[in-house]
């Protein structure tokens, strides 16, 4: 298993939509490296012939009838929104109009 560098931490932070200053990046790099080193313990296990377990139930593809039901009223849903505009969630400008 690989270890992690400060560049790696910055890359992963971007994927996770997080941002850190230099010092935080350094701290996270050290902490994550140490945790990954511990996790490297799993390499002791021979797992070529082992099936992965994603959850413990023999359940797959649970479906239900496609019936339209009443959902929450729009006002109730928008009540928690940081910004609301004409019944929609408001966000900073996405499309540049220039």
């Amino acid at each position: 298993m690989a270890t992690i560098t400060t560049e790696g931490v910055s890359h992963v932070a971007n994927l996770a939509r997080l941002e850190f200053n230099k010092e935080e990046t350094k701290d996270f790099t050290e902490q994550l490296a140490r945790i990954l080193d511990y996790i490297g313990k799993l390499n002791e296990l021979e797992t070529d012939d082992v099936q992965p377990t994603s959850h413990i139930h023999p359940l797959q593809n649970i479906t239900k009838p496609d019936v339209v039901k009443t959902s929450l009223p729009r006002d109730a849903v928008l009540a928690n929104a940081p910004e609301e505009e004409e019944g929609y969630f408001g966000v900073p400008r996405v499309i540049d109009t220039d």
């Binding site: 298993m1 690989a2 996770a16 997080l18 945790i35 511990y38 799993l42 139930h57 359940l59 940081p82």
Partner: protein, 492 residues
């Protein structure tokens, strides 16, 4: 004895006999909160007004002589990870500081149907990530047995309020031990039911293949009563399982003659506190003296459970927590340049350090080039851990272990080293991987006066065996009757 000190089943009898009213009981709880909550700090939100309304409604039921469910009028505290309609639900995170759910979790609907009384929302590690409740963005909860120590986590508030008698029982959630470990450290009963037993609709998701809701109570009988109220298939949660639901009170049998109890040697190794080990050995000897046969077993992959957990849980968390982006609910940063910048600033300002650490760990484990080496490897290790248990349950009915390798530690003692904190979960994560039901019951105090918990595990959907063993143990010991003396502790 004050009303707040009693169990739910004792109170039910008094309510039914009209010796007391639910309003009196609720007032007794809030008087107790007045007395000790400033020291314990178990609650993030108190809902007295709602509680008194619910208590009043329960009293009307009792007066009319209606068919009264066992939890009617019983004051229950709710971990702040469970959505409560109209009542702020923060997950102990800044990012949900102003979130008021527009719907109830299914467990809340079920409690309302019983006529239960909601006392308030309890403190926890932010997004249930932690083993000491020190990762709350709001406050530190203190262990009622020694206010200088942590209550365990992540459901530390829910455990502490039951131990402090500021609720009769409570709900928590357990991903890698977050019910069992704080129950042990606070000297109360805590159960993680089988994965799939209880609907998680309205439980704010941490690691979806592991999360499960469960009760904290003062004794095993109350635990069975609360579990009875919560179980069942729910069409709002496709991972809830359609299995027959036993009446768990019928498993409260004071007899374990002939039951086979396995003791895995891997749980009694280096790192286990010697006083804790002694208490657990005493408990196992007690079970043997009560007629169980004790069998030495081996769960050889136990030592890989933490490493496996700290890939699987953060990986799932990194996906689940992607939803906190400052658009639909919760905190949003004050100023941002564009949408992506708004996401980044909102999340970086809104999440605490441990949550960010786990999002980073999980995102890394799922990122291109690393997924097979980490996430898939962990899923395979999970299979091996589960196979250990499958083989063990061919030979034994129940497995007995310590719940936590140590009693409660001092506040601040382990916060500097995340990996040390992760190792708190060494006794509880293996069963989480296998989706097993587990219960922690009090089994005595170490010399410093802190409680120790005995963990009992059974095969999936065999909670009945746990209730039988736990009940028999409780009926033949007095550990569950011990109470912390909060004022004395404070005077020291």
């Amino acid at each position: 004895m004050s009303l707040y000190q009693l169990t739910a089943h004792e109170l039910h009898d008094k309510l039914k006999a009209r010796e007391i009213t639910a309003v009196e009981l609720t007032e007794s709880i809030y008087e107790r909160i007045e007395e000790v909550e400033t020291q314990v700090k178990g609650y993030l939100t108190l809902t007295k007004e709602i509680a008194l309304e619910q208590a009043n409604a329960a009293d009307i039921g009792f007066q009319n002589g209606d068919e009264i469910p066992p939890l009617a009028g019983i004051p229950i505290a709710i971990k702040d990870v469970i959505c409560t309609k109209g009542v702020r639900t923060t997950c102990a995170s800044k990012i949900l500081s102003n979130f008021v759910p527009p719907y109830d979790a299914t467990v809340m609907t079920k409690l309302h149907q019983q006529g239960a009384v909601m006392v308030g929302k309890t403190n926890m590690d932010e997004f249930a990530m932690g083993s000491s409740t020190e990762n709350s963005a709001y406050q530190i909860t203190h262990n009622p047995w020694d206010l200088d120590t942590i209550p365990g986590g992540s459901s530390g508030g829910s455990a502490a309020v039951v131990a402090a008698d500021t609720a009769i029982c409570s709900l928590g959630s357990d991903t890698g031990g977050s019910i069992r470990q704080p129950a042990a450290l606070c000297g109360v009963v805590g159960m993680k039911p089988t994965y799939g037993r209880i609907s998680r609709y309205g439980l704010i998701a941490f690691a979806s293949s592991l999360d499960q809701i469960g009760p904290f109570t003062k004794d095993v009988t109350d635990c069975a009563l609360v579990l009875n109220a919560l179980c069942g298939k729910d069409e709002m949660d496709s991972t809830s399982v359609d299995m027959p639901i036993p009446n768990f009170t019928q498993s409260l049998i004071n007899d374990i003659q002939g039951l086979k109890i396995g003791v895995p040697k891997e749980y009694f190794t280096e790192g286990l506190d010697t006083e804790v080990a002694d208490k657990i050995q005493d408990a196992i000897a007690k079970l043997e003296s009560l007629g169980a046969s004790v069998i030495d077993i081996s769960l050889p992959h136990t030592e890989y459970a933490i490493a496996t957990y700290y890939i699987i849980a953060p990986a799932e968390a990194s996906a689940n927590l992607a939803r906190y982006d400052g658009v639909r609910y919760g905190y949003r940063t004050e100023e941002s340049e564009d949408l992506i910048n708004m996401y980044k600033k909102t999340r970086s300002e809104g999440f605490g350090e441990e949550v960010k650490r786990r999002i980073m760990l999980g995102t890394f484990a799922l990122s291109a080039g690393y997924q097979d080496a980490y996430y898939k490897k962990a899923q395979k290790a999970r299979t091996l851990i589960k196979s250990d248990f499958d083989a063990a349950f061919e030979k034994v009915d129940v497995i007995a272990t310590p719940t936590s390798p140590t009693p409660a530690f001092k506040i601040g003692e382990r916060t500097a080293d995340p990996l040390q904190m992760y190792l708190c979960d060494v006794m509880t994560t293996p069963a989480s991987h296998a989706g097993l039901p587990g219960i922690s019951v009090p089994c005595g105090l170490v010399n410093s006066g802190l409680p120790v918990g005995l963990q009992l595990l059974a095969a999936p959907f065999n909670e009945e065996a746990l209730f039988r063993v736990a009940y028999t143990y409780e009926q033949n010991t007095e550990h569950h009757l011990l109470k912390p003396n909060i004022s004395n502790v404070n005077d020291k």
